[in-house]
């Protein structure tokens, strides 16, 4: 087990290195010139060249990448071009807001997905099952920005239950987190349903039934634990989906997280911030998958033997 963990950790590190390399090459191959952006429209060629030299942008690409990597090893993500602040500081100041949003979003999608999926599996083939399946299809087919605007229109503009945008109280979290959760809830409901249908067909569930255990007890104590594994793996993968969704949702709701930071940086060609946010997102994805892999044998003893 420790050996396996070490191997997985090294693989993760390699993947992160690859992500850094590809992002770096992509960003610097772009036609946009950050030096010119900083200098402004009226700057002379000399000023632009000066700025380019100051930022190390006149070095050959491999040298620039090497500088970036050595900085990274010391926890240095570089300096923002536009805001003249350390990228690490900027991300750290924005990260809590995004984490709150993501945690609330995951809570909503998992709860909704579990309830809907289990209900559909139990009522398999019936009207409820069909309604749940259809609803889950609608959920995964709805564009996030339309859901965001619709929730705003109904619950903020018309009913006035929640604030339009901003950050700070529980009421602010509800609409953005629901927007993030609706999409995922559809996937979870479908997956929970098909896993539960498999599990409910197992012999041991029939035995539990024959013993005369109550239906809720069979569902929650006997069947559900066996259906949890794919859900945990899915949360790991989900974090990646969230990082993109966060950009859209934070833009619509004016949520001051790293999605908004990234969106502003993209518009200003503030490459160090874009690099930083991409790396933090990739780190989140890799960590999510790693945690899912490591916790799997703790939850399911069958995997431990192999």
């Amino acid at each position: 087990m420790p050996l396996l963990l070490v191997r997985r950790l090294m693989q993760s590190a390699l993947i992160l290195l690859g992500v850094a390399a590809i992002t770096f090459v992509l960003l610097y191959a772009m036609p946009a010139d950050p030096a010119r952006m900083i200098a402004g429209r009226s700057a002379t060629a000399a000023t632009v060249a000066n700025i380019r030299h100051e930022l190390g942008l006149d070095l050959p690409l491999p040298a620039q990448f090497w500088n970036y990597l050595t900085g990274l090893m010391q926890g240095n993500l570089g300096r923002s071009y536009a805001q003249k602040t350390e990228v690490a500081t900027l991300i750290a100041s924005r990260l809590p807001a995004t984490l709150v949003l993501m945690a609330a979003g995951i809570l909503i999608e998992v709860t909704l997905g579990l309830v809907l999926g289990i209900t559909a599996a139990v009522k398999r083939g019936g009207l409820v099952d069909r309604a749940v399946m259809m609803a889950s299809f609608v959920g995964v087919s709805a564009p996030q920005f339309v859901v965001a605007l619709l929730l705003l229109y109904v619950f903020a503009v018309t009913l006035g239950w929640f604030p339009m945008s901003g950050y700070g109280s529980l009421a602010h979290v509800v609409l953005p987190a629901t927007t993030l959760g609706v999409l995922g809830a559809g996937w979870y409901a479908r997956m929970v349903r098909s896993t539960m249908i498999d599990v409910l067909a197992q012999d041991y569930v029939r035995t539990a039934n024959a013993k005369g255990l109550s239906a809720p007890r069979i569902l929650l104590r006997h069947a559900l634990p066996n259906a949890l594994l794919p859900i945990i793996a899915m949360i790991g993968i989900d974090i990646g989906q969230f990082m993109g969704g966060v950009v859209v949702v934070e833009a619509v709701y004016g949520w001051p997280g790293i999605g908004q930071l990234a969106w502003q940086a993209i518009q200003q060609v503030d490459i160090p911030i874009i690099m930083g946010v991409t790396l933090v997102s990739a780190l989140a994805i890799v960590t999510g998958n790693l945690v899912a892999d490591v916790t799997a044998p703790l939850i399911d003893p069958r995997i431990r033997v192999q």
């Binding site: 992160l16 619709l150 503009v157 993109g244």
Partner: protein, 282 residues
């Protein structure tokens, strides 16, 4: 034929098939059906205060903030959005098929390298990557399609890889090889046909993802650029009016949802029908 018959027997698949058919037809016939030119800013298309008009007999779905007919823009927008959906997703499936087959078929380091690269792409936050690429490149219809293709091939590659790996181990491939068949013959005649169901299923499901991705990029203002209409940029242009002119946001939104939903229903039905291991779950 069997596929079509089984499709018609499922209400949800039938619904998907009908909507997809209608949307495709409307897109193709847009110049004939649109009551106005999509770019014409009509004098009577705005109220006296200069506000967009709600749906009426003259403008069936209302007008937008520049006094253009929303129905006409949606019809022409369908062409853009579906074209990107088909082209980008077609390219993604082709890339995915190629990379997946090669990674599954080739032994040793070339196959490993391809698969590690696919793993690497899995760790990229896809939507974020698409947003960054689309924003930094000069946005146009083809750039948007390219960006989407570059982001969306990964999943297809993974599935194709798994299938190819298990096919290569099968006896009929071994038999073919011992009869002296070359790699090209094995790949084209024996492996590719087995991958077709997966390609068709993902080709259909992927269109839903692609249409949504195009809409999202255009909504952020980094997709298809106005005045050329796409479903996403129609919403982008009027999002700040969503309180006073909600139809400008929610009618295109409903069209996007309905289209993505239909492709998803269709793809799901195809998966059930073409892949017997999935049967009985639907």
């Amino acid at each position: 034929m069997r596929v079509l018959r089984e499709m018609l027997a499922r209400p949800s698949a039938l619904f998907g098939l009908v909507v997809v058919g209608v949307v495709l037809l409307l897109a193709v016939a847009a110049p004939l059906l649109a009551p106005y030119s999509p770019d014409e800013q009509m004098f009577d298309g705005l109220s006296l205060e200069g506000a967009p008009l709600p749906p009426s007999a003259q403008f069936l779905l209302g007008t937008d903030t520049l006094g253009r007919d929303l129905l006409s823009r949606l019809l022409f927008g369908a062409r853009t959005s579906l074209l990107i959906g088909l082209v980008a997703n077609g390219a993604a499936v082709l890339i995915g098929l190629f990379v997946g087959t090669m990674a599954g078929y080739l032994r040793g380091w070339p196959g490993n390298l391809l698969m590690r690269f696919t793993d690497l792409m899995m760790a990229f936050p896809a939507l974020l990557l698409a947003i960054v690429l689309a924003a930094l490149l000069r946005p146009s219809l083809w750039i948007v399609a390219l960006v989407i293709a570059l982001v969306n091939w990964v999943q297809v590659a993974r599935i194709v890889f798994t299938e190819t790996r298990s096919l290569v181990e099968r006896d009929f491939i071994l038999a073919e090889r011992s009869l002296g068949a070359g790699h090209a013959r094995i790949l084209v005649h024996h492996i590719l046909p087995h991958l077709m169901p997966a390609a068709i299923v993902w080709g259909t499901l992927g269109i839903a993802t692609t249409v949504l991705l195009e809409a999202t990029l255009s909504f952020l203002g980094i997709g298809v650029q106005p005045p050329q209409p796409s479903w996403g940029n129609i919403i982008f242009e009027s999002q700040s009016y969503f309180q006073s002119a909600p139809w400008l946001v929610f009618i295109p939104g409903a069209v996007i949802l309905l289209t993505a939903l239909s492709f998803n229903l269709l793809g799901d039905a195809l998966r059930d029908i073409l892949d017997p291991t999935q049967r009985g779950r639907g």
